[in-house]
């Protein structure tokens, strides 16, 4: 949409990327563009050949941001797998802690460990994780993963809440690892979103 000198129009694009979505009179919003989205997709990876890790990069998330990672793990073999989430290529498990609670039918269990597991999957099963990722204002990276384990058969319910023990000014990579070679299998999908400000 062209911008005329002395005017700004709703939906106009400034410098090629900035969209005007609000107009204020003083501090009052007098017009707001309803663009229909709350999340911005920044990475979308579907696995075509089984791998041991996936790196999502090409973005910078600061303390302003909240990221949401949706992971759909497909497991095509008779081995159960556990997945870890790391950040900024800091893949030393002991640089993280996590607390989990899990429920399998009527059995409830919990654990705290010096790692950052955020999902797992049974043999020949599928698991869905919806994970909020937030860089706290004092620089720690937190993750809150809500997991439906084995959603294709008999679902379990897990919550994995994790933290880094190091601080950083930004998140530039999300690194997903599995505990055994090539355990991130064909058909798995990772969608990384940023909440729009």
């Amino acid at each position: 949409m062209p911008i005329k000198k002395g005017t700004l129009e709703i939906g106009a694009i400034l410098r090629g990327s900035t969209v005007i979505n609000k107009i204020y009179k003083g501090t009052t919003v007098i017009y707001e563009l309803a663009d229909g989205t709350y999340l911005e997709l920044i990475e979308d990876v579907t696995i075509s050949t089984a791998v041991t890790s996936v790196t999502l990069s090409g973005f910078t998330a600061t303390k302003e941001d909240t990221l949401v990672l949706v992971s759909d793990f497909h497991n095509n073999v008779a081995t159960a797998y556990t997945f870890s989430i790391y950040f900024n290529n800091n893949t030393t498990a002991t640089n993280y802690y996590k607390q989990r609670i899990g429920v399998n039918a009527t059995t409830i269990f919990a654990s705290r460990d010096n790692n950052n597991f955020f999902a797992d999957v049974g043999d020949n099963d599928k698991t869905l994780s919806v994970c909020d990722i937030k860089l706290t204002n004092d620089g720690y990276i937190t993750s809150q993963s809500s997991v439906t384990r084995n959603y294709d058969t008999l679902p379990w319910l897990f919550e994995y809440y994790g933290t880094s023990t190091f601080i950083t000014p930004s998140i530039t990579e999300v690194n997903i690892f599995v505990d055994q070679t090539n355990g991130i299998q064909t058909g798995s999908r990772f969608q990384l979103y940023r909440r729009l400000a």
Partner: protein, 318 residues
């Protein structure tokens, strides 16, 4: 859409008031409050959230569940405490803020507690007001520890966009249907603010008019007072509806997985607004492979179990 309040704490305080008089929170809207809490004191800092300067704790009820190490616990109290963190530590809190259709302020908080330490723990706390409001013009975050909201704490309040459909029930019904278009690339929320019209009964969620219970499985975990329990069902549970007139709120993430199987993760404040408040989660899936979700049906297990004033909303996040 988007961020409507952002405050980084530069001097430790005991209370932060979020003035919303210019853009009040109304019924039918949905907000997320993201609070990264730095407690620089030598005391545990418990955090309460209050609406409209109604800061009397006993005007609220709260149910929580916590996992700390291998311990799992729960409890209910006459308070609005919904988060907190230990001395000299950090917490990350996400809170859904909702003004229900009958005017209660409901807060659903999940917390990574002691996030920078080896004592990390996990809490879910659900709060509802006893008082009713026509809108929320102020939210107050209050620490039990003096100056327990420390330097570098940050409070961000987001208004969720976009509501694509809603139904407000004018006379009791058994079923409410929505036409939707959920693809594998989409993220949706279903918000169910339910008023019961009969004795306790189940509320089911069905996709694409497939109402065969055995095509669905659901895992539940719940905290009711100090009792924590789990159940798996060979059916499609979204939430439970309690006694006649009781109200409950579910916020459910909806996802069509890459496998073509439809999933939901429902977090429920059961019996909000009274002393029987409880916390439930239902994670379910549909075992039929589909290319899209074209309809959603919210169905009561009892005829006309969905009462007057029930409000159901579909939110598209992308």
């Amino acid at each position: 859409m988007g961020l409507i309040y952002d405050n980084t704490i530069s001097t430790a305080v005991t209370q932060v008031d979020i003035d919303l008089t210019a853009t009040p929170i109304e019924k039918g809207e949905l907000y997320e409050l993201v609070f990264t809490h730095v407690n620089g004191t030598g005391s545990f800092s418990s955090i309460s959230l209050y609406a409209n300067n109604n800061t009397t704790p006993t005007n609220y009820y709260r149910q929580y569940t916590e996992a700390s190490g291998t311990g799992v616990s729960g409890n209910r109290a006459n308070t609005s405490e919904l988060a907190g963190t230990g001395d000299n530590s950090t917490a990350k809190v996400k809170i859904y803020v909702k003004l229900t259709n009958d005017g209660k302020a409901v807060f659903m908080a999940t917390t990574v507690k002691r996030a920078n330490t080896s004592s990390i723990s996990l809490t879910e706390m659900h709060v509802s007001s006893v008082s009713t409001f026509t809108s929320l013009t102020e939210l107050s975050i209050v620490s039990t520890a003096t100056n327990g909201i420390g330097i570098n704490s940050r409070i961000q309040l987001y208004k969720v966009a976009e509501k694509v459909d809603e139904a407000i029930v004018g006379s009791a019904v058994t079923q409410v249907d929505f036409t939707v278009d959920i693809q594998k690339g989409n993220e949706y929320l279903l918000v169910s603010d339910l008023t019961s019209n009969s004795a306790g009964h189940q509320i089911y969620l069905y996709a694409n008019n497939n109402t065969t219970a055995s095509n669905y499985d659901t895992q539940r975990v719940g905290a009711d007072g100090i009792g924590v329990s789990g159940t798996r069902y060979s059916s499609s549970y979204l939430m439970y509806s309690y006694d006649n007139g009781d109200t409950s709120l579910s916020i459910a993430k909806l996802k069509l997985a890459n496998s073509g199987l439809f999933n939901w993760q429902s977090s429920v404040v059961g019996e909000y607004g009274d002393s029987d408040i409880n916390l439930q989660k239902y994670y379910g899936s549909f075992d039929q492979i589909i290319t899209s979700v074209t309809s959603l049906s919210i169905v009561s297990s009892i005829t006309n179990g969905i009462g007057i004033g029930t409000r159901l909303e579909i939110w598209k996040l992308i």
